[in-house]
């Protein structure tokens, strides 16, 4: 049947179970579609893709300045920067580390700028398991509100060369 030319009157609207299933599948597809705009307006976790064009070197400079101005300590030789609540924070991904270590406060909202100095990187916050793409030339802004405290690890989860798996960073939340 499937490999022969069908009879001439092959055009039929679906009937019976087949029609029932197509209807149910279509309704399910529409529910799934509506969920995304619904969550965009009512959910607390969204990836809006807010971003600005930036030269990689310019972003490196901004991050260094941010780390210097907001330094509150050191973590294994890397400065810890604590941005003001509601303020801007910068995080630089580069081969193969994250800079600086960020110190945030639970319940406060920050505009976290993430970009790369060289290749593409992946911002993967563990153990929360929140993941965002980090692109050179794109200042990716996450408006972020930590809702739990502790020491969180940033893993790079976009392949970035031989030392990819060594690219680890930290976010501390009080």
């Amino acid at each position: 049947m499937t490999i022969q030319s069908p009879p001439q009157d092959w055009f039929h609207w679906p009937r019976g179970h087949e029609r029932l299933w197509i209807g149910m599948a279509l309704v399910w597809c529409m529910i799934m579609f509506v969920m995304m705009p619904y969550w965009h307006f009512n959910g607390k976790q969204n990836s809006t893709g807010e971003s600005y064009s930036v030269e990689p070197q310019e972003f490196v400079d901004r991050t260094l300045r941010f780390a210097e101005d907001n330094k509150v300590g050191e973590f294994k030789g890397v400065p810890i920067a604590e941005p003001p609540p509601g303020g801007d924070a910068y995080l630089l991904g580069r081969m193969w580390n994250w800079y600086p270590v960020l110190k945030l406060r639970k319940g406060e909202t920050y505009r976290l700028h993430i970009s790369s100095a060289d290749l593409q990187h992946g911002f993967s916050l563990q153990p929360m398991n929140m993941n965002f793409q980090v692109m050179p030339g794109y200042d990716h802004v996450l408006t972020l509100t930590p809702t739990s405290t502790g020491e969180f690890t940033i893993v790079c989860n976009e392949f970035c060369g031989a030392g990819h798996h060594m690219m680890i960073g930290k976010i501390l939340v009080e």
């Binding site: 030319s5 092959w10 799934m32 893709g49 793409q133 989860n157």
Partner: protein
């Protein structure tokens, strides 16, 4: 199997003694050539696969970092591009000649296609293994490989495009001469769908890779990294939809050959293929859901394939294929109860078991995870974690590759005219392979839910992954070994059959086992079965699918709601 009169005849044609289909000897030669190359690359990709799986299994951790990334690149390219596309060109040649009763348009075009594909694939593999292209299959800029890496892929893609052109030209000749009757058979229609999507996919590949090649040569400026991602996934994701369309066509073919499946409604099945063509070209968005540079409404519209209309197409095939099989079996007399048709299916026929396992794995694991992870916001919990390979090993390997393996158990006897030996091994092969892939896929998915990244050598970055992750990575490793065992059985049996198998020239192939007609009991009228669109057993099965889908989908929203707030 039904016999069809052949209008195609002449010295360059034979009639298949098993199916009654005409076989164009030119097409047969190139189907053989493409199938042989496909199996060679499957073997190479498989050896890389088991090495990678054994590296991510913490207790083994086989490769060093350099070779892990190298073989990961090698594995992706050989499996996703070379093995599958060589097979698909073979399938296209079969569909446009035997099914449309038309000789292959051109031998020299087929030679050109085949030559370029071989040249390109050997070039790319050589460059990867020589350590000049440790860039992963995606080769995201600004990461840069040796220029010949891109040139190899471009040559391969051009070769594949030329093969697709040969297919279109043959279809045109067939259509002009009405050689197949008024309406194209469904399987050929599905192959045509795959070919159309392949053209769009390969053009995206050219647009992304040609400027990258010229940049690597130092001739032009560097393309934008975001632009590259957008266009590259026009190749990367759409080529998976080529696989879906080709795989669904193979499902229709194998369900007919092994169980005498009917098409419940040609309009519905064809309409679903058309939905693929119309809405697949925006699939690139699935890979950019947590990217900068593209906004929320763009992500929502595109990732849903314009309100999930291409997903609808797969849900429709998920009904029509088992339903067609159910109707075919009920007509044969297996009418008792809801599932008598299913229990009496030819489970020892590897063509059938590969088809049916492929259908189940693709639908229940690949499909449900794919749509859920491809939901804009849920992708935050999945992007670049092992959940992603957990999904696509269920679609591309458990789905497409397994279906193609099932097809091979017919291709070798019918087109190489050689019989398989060690048939008991062939009968268990789909189960071994499917079992391994399911374990591997679930291990990846659960480890990924725990946050474990994909494409990373160190399985325990800074000690953030807990005991559950380690257990799941072990499941991945063991599943990988099992799947590799299934793959090796397939490769060895097939190579043995092709070179040393008993010839069946001049007679029908040895039947793998097909259900025989039995006497109808009760007041069933076989003429009426399926005409009303009903398939009660299948209706129950798809309801189970839908229920699993709903539960998994909303469980993921719940998990997302527990995360930090982010906009």
């Amino acid at each position: 199997m039904a016999t069809i009169s052949t209008e195609m005849s002449g010295p360059n044609t034979r009639e298949c003694k098993t199916t009654g289909l005409p076989v164009c000897l030119d097409a047969q030669f190139f189907i053989r050539a493409n199938a042989v190359m496909a199996v060679v690359f499957l073997l190479l990709g498989g050896i890389a696969a088991v090495s990678i799986a054994l590296t991510r299994w913490p207790a083994v951790h086989l490769l060093d970092a350099e070779w892990f990334y190298r073989l990961l690149t090698f594995h992706g390219i050989n499996m996703l591009i070379f093995w599958i596309l060589f097979m698909e060109i073979g399938i296209l040649y079969f569909a446009c000649t035997s099914l449309l009763k038309t000789p292959l348009f051109s031998r020299s075009v087929a030679w050109g296609s085949f030559g370029l594909m071989v040249l390109g694939s050997v070039m790319t593999d050589y460059i990867i293994l020589s350590g000049e292209a440790d860039v992963m299959m995606t080769s995201y800029l600004p990461l840069l490989a040796h220029p010949l890496f891109y040139l190899g892929i471009i040559l391969f893609a051009v070769g594949a495009l030329i093969g697709v052109f040969n297919f279109f030209a043959t279809v045109f000749v067939a259509w002009k001469g009405k050689r197949y009757g008024e309406t194209m058979p469904l399987v050929a229609f599905g192959a045509l769908t795959a070919a159309i999507i392949a053209v769009v996919a390969l053009l995206h590949g050219a647009i992304a890779l040609v400027p990258t090649f010229t940049f690597a040569m130092g001739w032009t400026a560097e393309p934008d990294a975001m632009w590259y991602r957008l266009i590259w996934w026009g190749l990367g994701h759409q080529s998976q939809q080529v696989n879906v369309a080709a795989m669904v066509s193979v499902w229709y073919l194998l369900s007919y050959w092994t169980c005498g499946a009917k098409v419940i409604n040609e309009t519905v099945s064809r309409g679903a293929f058309v939905l693929y063509i119309l809405f697949i070209n925006i699939a690139s968005a699935h890979h950019l859901l947590v990217d900068p540079g593209v906004g929320a409404s763009w992500k929502i519209w595109n990732t849903s394939y314009a309100m999930y209309l291409a997903v609808l197409a797969s849900l429709i095939h998920g009904f029509t294929i088992p339903a067609g099989m159910e109707v075919g079996m009920r007509i044969k007399g297996y009418t008792k109860g809801l599932f008598n048709w299913l229990w009496n299916a030819p489970w020892r026929n590897p063509g059938f078991s590969a088809f049916f396992l492929s259908l189940v794995i693709f639908g229940f694991i690949g499909g449900i995870t794919g749509v859920t992870l491809g939901t804009q916001q849920i992708n935050i919990t999945a992007h670049n974690t092992l959940r992603i390979p957990g999904h696509f090993h269920a679609t591309v390997v458990g789905g497409t590759s397994l279906a193609f393996m099932g097809l091979t158990y017919y291709v070798v006897p019918l087109l190489f005219q050689r019989e398989y030996s060690f048939r008991w091994l062939a009968r268990i092969q789909p189960y071994v392979f499917a079992g391994g892939i399911v374990m591997m896929s679930l291990g990846m998915s659960f480890a990924g839910s725990d946050g474990v990244a994909r494409r990373t050598w160190d399985i325990d970055a800074a000690g953030v992954y807990g005991a559950t992750s380690h257990l799941m990575l072990a499941v991945l490793g063991i599943g990988g070994v099992l799947a590799f065992t299934g793959l090796m059985i397939y490769v060895l049996l097939t190579v043995y059959a092709v070179f040393l198998g008993k010839s069946n020239e001049g007679s029908a192939m040895e039947d793998w086992g097909t259900p025989r007609d039995i006497v109808h009991v009760g007041d069933v009228d076989p003429e009426k079965i399926g005409k009303d669109g009903n398939a009660p057993g299948t209706m129950v099965l798809v309801m189970v699918l839908l229920l699993s889908f709903v539960v998994y989908y909303f469980a993921n929203w719940k998990a997302l709601a527990d995360l930090w707030f982010v906009r």
